[in-house]
């Protein structure tokens, strides 16, 4: 019975987001902290080092962690204010049960009773409909230990094939492309390889807002003489002073990079020796890109021919380079091709596996890298093993003490799981670290699907907009309440340290999962007493796999400020740079530096396809979505932190003045943007820093402010990543909302007040 027990507004009044601000011991400069805990930020994939100041089991502030080499004390505003997620009035300190008769829609229940209820519903659904009728959705902000445990829990305890995770909407297209081209999915180089690169090419990364600390690396490269090429439909802060800016039409990235490769070949700006010795498949790609003449590339991509030529020359003739990309080219129904098209220009240049010769994907989530390595993906087992591979099944089954044939087969991606819920195949769901009601595309469908569940349970620390659909909510742990490892953007495995205990009945997530296993009478393999114990099993489970963690220990991480995987033995220091000449890996076994039996990288034809939903007469404008610096993902945490909400209180729709003029829209006007799936009304921000055929809306907000009401659930056929970056919309000036709404968004008021999703007057009914 997974329907909302009350109206969204009522639930928001009761459960937030409310805004937390500095007060009490956090405001008092005279308070001496009990301890200072070196750890990392809880937000993005950069995983900046930070010291948390703790007083009376509360994180009261931070101190820069100058000694962590990646960020050397630097933080973005989210990192600075992250401590305000603790001691929050919205924090769940008991289990909750859906209770439509109660004022707040949910009422507290005892933790043990909640676990018993969850177990009995799992038992009921699985005995009635079969093991696969119960699914698990997980997340890539969990520590690697928890991510590992979720995969094991689904396969061994629940015996369901249906588990997937929110990394599916993050960068799986990049992962799939990396596997196809290199046989391994990790940024190939440490970020220090940016510093002396002659050319830095950034494609589809709003670096300054989404991975701010990387900015300093890029600026340092420019101080050292490097040139910057940025590919983006918007002039973001990293693009503002770029040497070459390629304002690509959303969805046309593969065409652009094919065009660049065509010019590299035509002008012989390619490394013949590298291609001959280290790659296969170049000829087919060369033949394919011949059609991408500068003129045709310009026509398709909307980028001036002279800019394409200039970029190809700068890239083609460089001696060293760093190419990085992020969601801008990955969030497409042809995301894998987009990523492969960038990899092709890297391979053709031969600039890989050496200092300042680099390629990397900029991960989004805190454990976006580690969370996709050890088995919470629908087709994966730990160590990046394949659940369809008999040898892999046998090895992991051995570690887990089960028979290989007992392990389920591969499941499906998280959006397909929603479709299976809608179709009645999946009847029950356990969800952790995922807020699909905000983060999945076409979220009206997601809500309708969730409503069909017979039983839905969520583990979370706040009552997220998705948890509001649950029958039972189990109180989990904040980042600072547990320990474990994550792998950050460079592939560096680092250690999250515990600063405070969970409040009330809240428990570390791995304990909650194990309690459910216990209550089900299936405790075998779920009796770990610590994250360290889980990690020790993970090390064994990953041994010999591509993502080999067997030589990593908590102590080695401390001693080295992180360990780059693969790290296959106790005396191995880790692998900061992949693909170095002469390097060994378990697939090539010395045949070459890439992770294929012949040791060679693969060129892949990256055929251009238009977006799933192109513009037409009825919906003539491209909508693209993304992030702002002060918010993170679905905003479960950051929409509850006052200073971050002040910085950018509400989503706005960015519109170029030419387009705005056509529709009679002025800066600040309420504007309705409508797709075939939904409608949103927001204030316009009229700026020349976006393509005139495209509008942009950030996606962090809930309910009527959610950009994903509009987006399309088209997915890449290989990786299943959704097409967040292109759909077709139309636009009109909206009627004036009430004055109350106009005044609902103060920028500098320091009193606690609720702003998001639930402000007293809503923009448009």
């Amino acid at each position: 019975m997974a329907t909302l027990p009350k109206e969204e507004d009522v639930l928001a009044d009761a459960w937030g987001p409310h805004l937390n601000r500095m007060d009490g011991s956090r405001m008092d400069a005279g308070v001496e902290p009990d301890k200072i805990v070196p750890t990392h930020c809880c937000f993005c994939g950069q995983q900046c080092g930070i010291n948390l100041k703790v007083k009376d089991n509360l994180v009261i502030g931070f101190e820069p962690r100058y000694d962590f080499p990646f960020n050397k004390g630097m933080l973005c505003p989210k990192g600075v204010k992250r401590y305000l997620q603790g001691g929050h009035e919205d924090r769940l300190t008991t289990a909750l049960q859906r209770d439509p008769d109660s004022e707040k829609g949910f009422s507290p229940m005892g933790y043990d009773a909640a676990i018993a209820r969850v177990a009995s519903e799992i038992e009921r659904i699985q005995s009635q409909y079969g093991p696969n009728a119960f699914g698990v959705l997980s997340g890539a902000s969990l520590t690697t230990e928890k991510a590992y445990l979720m995969g094991k829990f689904a396969r061994v305890c629940l015996k369901t094939k249906y588990i997937d995770y929110n990394g599916r909407l993050c960068m799986v297209s990049a992962g799939a492309a990396n596997k196809k081209a290199f046989g391994i999915d990790r940024s190939a180089n440490p970020w220090d390889d940016i510093l002396n690169a002659e050319v830095v090419l950034i494609a589809g990364s709003n670096t300054a807002e989404c991975s701010p600390i990387t900015t300093n690396y890029v600026w340092q490269a420019r101080e050292n003489g490097g040139k910057l090429i940025v590919v983006d439909p918007r002039i973001t802060p990293i693009a503002r002073t770029a040497d070459i800016f390629l304002p690509v039409k959303p969805g046309r990235d593969a065409a652009l990079f094919n065009g660049i490769l065509q010019l590299m070949i035509e002008n012989d700006w390619i490394d013949h020796d590298f291609i001959a010795q280290n790659t296969v498949g170049f000829e087919a790609v060369a033949e394919h890109v011949a059609q991408w003449t500068p003129r045709r590339t310009a026509e398709v991509t909307g980028v001036a021919e002279k800019s394409i030529r200039a970029a190809a020359e700068l890239w083609g003739t460089a001696k060293t380079s760093f190419l990085m990309h992020a969601r801008g080219i990955e969030h497409h129904s042809h995301g894998v091709e987009n990523c492969l098209s960038t990899i092709n220009i890297v391979l053709a240049s031969g600039r890989l596996g050496k200092p300042f010769c680099a390629y990397g994907t900029v991960v989004g989530q805190g454990n976006g890298q580690g969370g996709r390595e050890h088995g919470q993906k629908c087709d994966q087992l730990p160590g990046w093993r394949d659940i369809s591979n008999p040898a892999h099944r046998e090895y992991v089954a051995g570690v887990w003490g089960v028979k290989p044939e007992e392990l389920p087969e591969a499941g499906v991606d998280c959006y397909e799981m929603m479709r299976k819920i809608d179709a009645g195949e999946i009847k029950g769901l356990l969800l952790i670290c995922f807020n699909p009601v905000i983060s999945l595309p076409d979220n009206a469908f997601v809500k309708r699907a969730l409503e069909k569940l017979e039983f839905f349970t969520v583990i979370d620390f706040f009552l997220s907009e998705t948890a509001q659909y649950a029958d039972v909510v189990l109180p989990g742990s904040l980042h600072e309440e547990d320990e474990g490892v994550v792998a950050q953007v460079e592939g560096r495995v680092i250690k999250i340290n515990k600063a405070v205990d969970p409040p009330g009945d809240a428990k570390q997530d791995w304990r909650v999962i194990q309690d459910i296993a216990q209550a089900l009478g299936r405790p075998h393999g779920f009796t770990f007493d610590s994250p360290r114990a889980i990690f020790d099993e993970l090390r064994v489970a990953s041994k010999g796999g591509v993502a080999d963690y067997s030589g990593i220990t908590y102590e080695k991480i401390d001693a080295q400020n992180g360990v780059f995987w693969p790290c296959p033995s106790d005396d191995h220091p880790g692998t900061p740079r992949l693909f170095e000449p002469g390097s060994w890996n378990p697939i090539a076994k010395g045949a070459g530096p890439f992770y294929f039996p012949d040791g060679k990288a693969r060129f892949n034809v990256a055929a251009y396809r238009p977006p799933a939903e192109d513009v037409d007469e009825a919906y003539p404008i491209i909508l693209t979505t993304g992030r702002v610096v002060s918010q993170f993902l679905s905003g479960t945490q950051t929409r509850r932190i006052g200073p971050l909400v002040d910085q950018y209180p509400e989503p706005r729709v960015e519109i170029h003045p030419k387009l705005a003029q056509k529709y009679g829209i002025a800066d600040g006007d309420w504007t309705t943007v409508e797709s075939r799936r939904g409608t949103i009304t927001l204030r316009a921000q009229v700026v020349t820093t976006i393509r005139p055929d495209t509008v942009f809306i950030p996606y962090h907000w809930a309910g009527r402010k959610s950009a994903n009401q509009l987006t399309i659930a088209a997915q890449d056929p290989v990786s299943k990543i959704p097409e967040y970056k292109v759909c077709a919309v139309r636009m009109r000036v909206a009627e004036s909302p009430s004055r109350q709404v106009d005044e609902a968004v103060p920028l500098d008021d320091s009193t606690t007040r609720r702003l998001d999703g639930s402000s007293p007057g809503r923009p448009i009914p």
């Binding site: 820069p64 933080l75 973005c76 300054a208 973001t236 802060p237 503002r240 200073p643 910085q647």
Partner: protein
């Protein structure tokens, strides 16, 4: 030991407001940010400029203070007004050529950046320059900045019409520009630097 100095490079600024957020964590004015961070002209550019107190050698704010409330430490840090003396007259706010002091009416007190004196006086870096993810705000030795920024050089002379001001905080300017002072009034008439009109010209057919 070489002293650590403050270097400001607005060209690196990405407008993330990390400095603004961290400033309010400083122990001398917790909960209140003293940094100014503005868009130059958001409709046409994402360029932003952060302003900290430049800590003038002859602080105009102190010179115009009728209550002699604004003091400069022996090592050249201009402090927030002394509470017992400040009469909240706003003279300093109006007079500062850099627009730095903030009048906090709730305390009847002028407050301003004091270079995180609780930190810098004991050898720590200021909050803003610690966290700044773009290096727009940097605190370190002269040798470090020369090593890190070979294409820029620090300038600490500013011209406001007839008034010449020298400051403790340095502004990084392109080395090849060959300038030895920043002419602030002329700079105020300039368009934002970097791309703005690019997308207009690319799509004239729209």
């Amino acid at each position: 030991m070489t002293p650590m100095e403050f270097f400001l490079d607005p060209n690196r600024c990405i407008g993330c407001q990390s400095c603004v957020a961290a400033c309010s964590e400083c122990d001398t004015h917790r909960g209140h940010s003293m940094i100014h961070l503005e868009y130059v002209d958001r409709p046409i550019s994402v360029q932003t400029v952060p302003v900290v107190c430049m800590h003038c050698d002859s602080p105009t704010c102190a010179e115009v203070c009728p209550a002699d409330a604004i003091k400069r430490t022996g090592d050249g840090v201009v402090q927030t007004a002394r509470k017992p003396r400040c009469i909240a007259c706003n003279n300093c706010v109006l007079a500062c050529p850099f627009g730095v002091p903030k009048m906090k009416t709730e305390f009847s007190l002028m407050m301003k950046c004091d270079l995180c004196y609780d930190r810098t006086s004991v050898g720590l870096k200021p909050m803003c320059a610690s966290v700044c993810p773009s290096g727009a705000l940097y605190f370190g030795t002269r040798e470090e900045i020369e090593h890190l920024r070979p294409r820029s050089e620090p300038v600490n002379t500013f011209q406001f019409g007839q008034q010449t001001i020298t400051t403790k905080v340095h502004m990084m300017v392109p080395r090849d520009a060959g300038i030895h002072h920043v002419d602030v009034l002329s700079a105020m008439d300039e368009e934002p630097v970097g791309r703005g009109g690019t997308l207009d010209s690319v799509f004239d057919d729209m």
